[in-house]
C-alpha cells in the first residue's frame, strides 16, 4: 500500500517536474508505438477490406488464422525477430538488432492480427449492408474496398486504438529485440521491468502510472479529435 502511494506521488512529481529522462522515454515509447501502428494499419486495413469483399477458397481459413494470431505470444514474436535480425540471421547484415527499428518491426507483427481481425468484423457488417447497392452500381473491387474503409473509419479507429493499447503496453518482444539500452531503446515498459528487477517498486509504479495516463490520454485525444460521439456522425 505504501509502495502504491509512493508510486503515485513519485509519478505526480515526475510529471510536474517535467523529468527529462521520463520525457525522453515516454516520447520514444510513443514514437515506436505510433510508427508500428501506422505500418500495421497499412497492412491490416486493406487486408481486412479484401477479406470482407472478396470470396475465395481459403478465405475462412485465413480469417480463422488471423483471429488465432490475435493471441500471438509477444515473447515468441520477439524471439523470431531476434533470430531473423541477429548477425547469423538472414537480415543480420542490416544491423537492426537492438535498435528502435527492430522494436517497431516486432510491435508491428504483434499488432497486425489484432487490428485486422477487429477491422474485418466491422467491415464485414458494413459490406452486408452495402452489398446490393455496390454490386448494382457495378463498383470495382478497389472502389468497394475504399468505400468500406472510408465509411467504417470510426469503427476502424477503435481497431487502431486496440492496436495502440497492445503496442504501448508490450514488453516481451521489444525487450528481446531492443535490449533495453539506455538512451537508445529504453521505453516505458522495459524501464518498468528494469526498475522492478532492481527492487525500485515505487519508481516502477510511477512509470506504470505514467504509462496508463499516456494510454488514456492518447485514446481520449483521438476520440475527441474524431468526435466519435457527436450526434449524427459515425
Amino acid at each position: 500500500m505504501v509502495d502504491l502511494w509512493e508510486g503515485l506521488t513519485q509519478a505526480f512529481w515526475l510529471i510536474v517536474s517535467l523529468d527529462a529522462e521520463l520525457a525522453e522515454i515516454a516520447l520514444r515509447s510513443l514514437r515506436i508505438t505510433f510508427t508500428a501502428l501506422a505500418l500495421a494499419c497499412l497492412i491490416a486495413l486493406p487486408l481486412a477490406a479484401l477479406l470482407a469483399v472478396r470470396r475465395f477458397r481459403l478465405r475462412r481459413t485465413v480469417i480463422a488464422i488471423m483471429n488465432a494470431l490475435m493471441g500471438l505470444p509477444p515473447v515468441v514474436v520477439g524471439l523470431v525477430v531476434y533470430v531473423l535480425l541477429s548477425r547469423s540471421g538472414p537480415f543480420g547484415a542490416l544491423g537492426l538488432l537492438f535498435t528502435p527499428t527492430a522494436m517497431i518491426i516486432a510491435q508491428m507483427i504483434v499488432i497486425v492480427p489484432l487490428v485486422a481481425s477487429i477491422a474485418q468484423q466491422s467491415l464485414r457488417e458494413l459490406w452486408h449492408e452495402y452489398h446490393d447497392l455496390l454490386i448494382s452500381m457495378n463498383v470495382s473491387q478497389g472502389q468497394k474496398m475504399r468505400t468500406l474503409l472510408w465509411d467504417a473509419r470510426r469503427a476502424l479507429l477503435t481497431a487502431a486504438l486496440a492496436g495502440f493499447g497492445r503496442g504501448i503496453g508490450e514488453v516481451g518482444a521489444i525487450m528481446i529485440v531492443g535490449g533495453n539500452i539506455d538512451n537508445v531503446t529504453r521505453v516505458l515498459t522495459t524501464a518498468i521491468a528494469l526498475e522492478t528487477g532492481k527492487g525500485e517498486f515505487a519508481l516502477a509504479l510511477a512509470l506504470g502510472f505514467v504509462l496508463i495516463a499516456l494510454a488514456i490520454s492518447v485514446n481520449l485525444a483521438i476520440h475527441w479529435i474524431s468526435q466519435t460521439e457527436r450526434e449524427g456522425r459515425w
Binding site: L126, E129, Y130, D132, L133, I135, S136, M137, N138, V139, S140, Q143, T147, D151, A152, G232, R233, W234
Partner: protein, 237 residues
Amino acid sequence: MSALFPLSVRGATTRRRGKVLVGPVDLDLDTEGITVVVGPNGAGKTSLMRLLHGTARLHAGTINWACDVKTARNAQAFVFQRPVMLRRSVWENLAYPLVIRGVPRREAKARALDWAKRVGLAGMFDRPAPVLSGGEQQKLAIARALISEPELIFLDEPCASLEGRATREIEEILMAARDAGTRLLLSTHDMGQVRRLADRVLFLLAGRVHEDASASEFFAGPNTREAKAFVKGDIVE
C-alpha cells in the same frame, strides 16, 4: 437512339437452392415510359428485376440487351425497396455514382446540389443520410439513381411502407424522370399506383409472365382469370 433497347429475354430462369424463383420468362421490351411489374407476394417480381439487372444468376435462357453486358450495366440503376444509405452526408450519397465514374469532386457536388433541389432535399444537403426519414431516404435513393443519367431504372416497390404524401412526392419524381426520357421498370403491389403510373403492365404469377399488355388494355380487360381477379382485388396465389 437507345443503346440498351430492345431487350430480348428467352427462357430466362433463376433458382435458389434448387427452387425456381423466376422462369422460364420470354419477354421483349422496347416500350418507353414506365413498365410496371405486378403480382402477388412471392410471384418473383424482385427476382425478375434482379435477373434483368444482372445481380441475380441466370441459370438458363438468355437476356440480350442491344449492347454488351458492361455497357448495359452502366446504363442502368437499381432502387431497392429498403433504401441503402451510405454512411455519408446527403450530398456525398448523391455524388457517389459520379465520383466512382471519375467525375471531379467539385463537379459531382454541383450536380448533387442540383438533384437535391429537384427532389426537395436541398435543405438537408450536409446532413447524414442515414438519419433521414424513410420517404426522404427513398427520394435520395431515386435521385442517386437518376444522377448518372441511366437509360433504365429498376425500382423494387419504392413506395412500400411509405405514407401517402411521401408516395405522391416519389411518384412525381418518377413521372418527371419518365418525361425526361428515362425508362422505368417498377414493381408494386399497389393497384392505384399501377393505374397512376403504368404505361405497360407485366403481370407475374409463380415466376412467369402471365400477362403482358399496355396499361389501358390490362385494365380494360385482362385476358386471364388470375389477372382479372388481381385487378379486382381478390386474393391470387
